[in-house]
Symmetry: C2
Subunit: 310 residues, 2 copies
């Protein structure tokens, strides 16, 4: 068995929140079950934000409460504030995720708070969650580039990772929110962090907007990172490119990991079932290349079978 | 200035031969000029094969003869046999490319010759080309996996690279023809080769069928490879997946290289002009993510301008 890699599945949250179509609650629940059946053990189900912000996830309470519990599967949800935390707790979740930007301009535009103000809110929510017995994951956005400020000095995420861990989050996921990062940056950021942060407390959340996500994952793997975020099918658009890719596709991640001898515990065949299903629900071809390749292969096989009279 | 990386542009050949649409000759010539204007210095224009095999490139003699010559730009064409070589020479090309498979089953299916038979033909064509004063590049296909034989023992390409170099090809491009390769394999193949082959005589030709092409390029870069093949826009379908990606997109390659401080000499903005143009000609959205991201960004900017009354 190869080294174990932990895949944190964000498609139902970071994916669906960027899709135009609203996926019915019962279908979301079915998808959560399919992802668990595929071997994913960490699944972010939804986001406890106002339906006015993200109508696609307006059913967050239902989804979090009713997602099929399975031994070994940890469900989580994004939580922006104490109200969201109460909702997540009431729904029976054992883990939440909190988020903030690494850059001032993105923080202001995204949540109308400075980085310091965001940190204060995260501290309160995290403290309250820990007091309730929940585990808390932290997302740090715009680590590899900001749509307003451009390049980001690695000193910034370094400092913020320390503050997030000091609050009590068990892991910080470093996000390439707009998908501008390249492997050199991943190495710079990770090598700086590993001087005083255990790599086991870091994850990479790469977006594939410019095609670099898997190369960035490779750079992370080479540096010793063992946790990666991804979205099944590559669900979720990119803010700058309608129809283009946003999240790294879980299939593509798993294909590379397994091919390199890592152990992800995920069945690619079963994962593809979930992606095919959600593709019908959101009404578009999803960007995962492994998925597209498999669908193309099947189509060819069917055509061959028809031609030969079967 | 960073380390110089040589990009070998295959879109007009490996791209267009896999597109359904026939691109008119004058447009191909215009595209060659646009690629040269973008800073590409090695451009494979076409393939001197029978129009019955590849009707999309039936105008190979015209394209090769009339492509706009520019100082420093080397045009090449794929040549399967001596007849093709005569055509390429008559068209005024100074370089040709020859190709063969690393696996017996693919060789048989693709050109109805065993690997040994293919080597013999390549030897004759290469000798004749060198005698005419042409430079010869070699392609070795199915290095990282064969659609009929599956995984490929790295000893096979190692042996064949030696035989190709002994014939007099100046460089061997190692092809992941069906896009199954992962970075671990790239490292294995390159590390084995570098024991007795100068890395400057090797190139990587990765297909992005399963999303791993740029990660494979990164593995190659880390091993010291400095030449990479790619197709502008990501032109060219995948044999198993209609609509899915085949060739690595030159834009995505350039974006990563430049972001990591390498010097490709290519202008991304000018390259995108060529890809936009060919996208209209082949009548489909091309898979390059950098291209899609740029088009999406522009569309958003236009929508914003319209809303604000400009």
């Amino acid at each position: 068995m190869g080294e174990r890699i932990s895949v944190y599945e964000v498609g139902l949250r970071d994916g669906l929140q960027n899709e135009v179509a609203f996926v019915p609650t019962d279908e979301k629940l079915a998808l959560a079950g399919m992802l668990a059946d595929a071997g994913l053990r960490r699944i972010e189900l939804t986001s406890f934000v106002s339906p006015r912000w993200i109508p696609q996830l307006a059913d967050h309470a239902q989804v979090a409460a009713r997602a099929p519990r399975r031994p070994g599967v940890v469900y989580s949800a994004l939580v922006p504030n104490k109200l969201g935390l109460e909702g997540a707790k009431a729904a029976g979740l054992e883990e939440i995720a909190v988020f903030m930007s690494a850059t001032e301009a993105h923080s202001k535009k995204n949540i109308n708070k400075s980085v310091a103000e965001a940190l204060a809110v995260l501290g309160e929510v995290t403290q309250a969650a820990l007091a309730m017995g929940l585990r808390v994951r932290g997302y740090l956005s715009t680590v590899f580039g900001c749509p307003y400020e451009g390049p980001v000095d690695p000193a910034r995420p370094h400092e913020l990772v320390h503050q997030l861990l000091a609050m009590g989050v068990y892991e910080v996921s470093l996000g390439d929110t707009i998908g501008v990062g390249v492997p050199k940056q991943v190495r710079e950021v990770v090598r700086r962090l590993e001087t005083d942060v255990p790599l086991s407390k870091l994850a990479l959340h790469m977006h594939d907007t410019r095609g670099t996500a898997l190369a960035n994952v490779l750079a992370g793997l080479d540096c010793g990172i063992t946790t990666f975020d991804s979205a099944f099918g590559g669900l979720g658009g990119c803010p700058y490119a309608p129809g283009a890719s946003g999240n790294l596709a879980t299939e593509d991640l798993i294909y590379m990991l397994e091919g390199m001898g890592y152990d992800s515990g995920v069945s690619l065949d079963r994962l593809i079932l979930a992606s095919e299903h959600v593709s019908h629900l959101v009404g578009r071809t999803l960007p995962s290349k492994v998925l597209q390749s498999e669908l193309g292969r099947r189509q060819q096989a069917e055509e061959r079978a028809q031609r030969s009279g079967h």
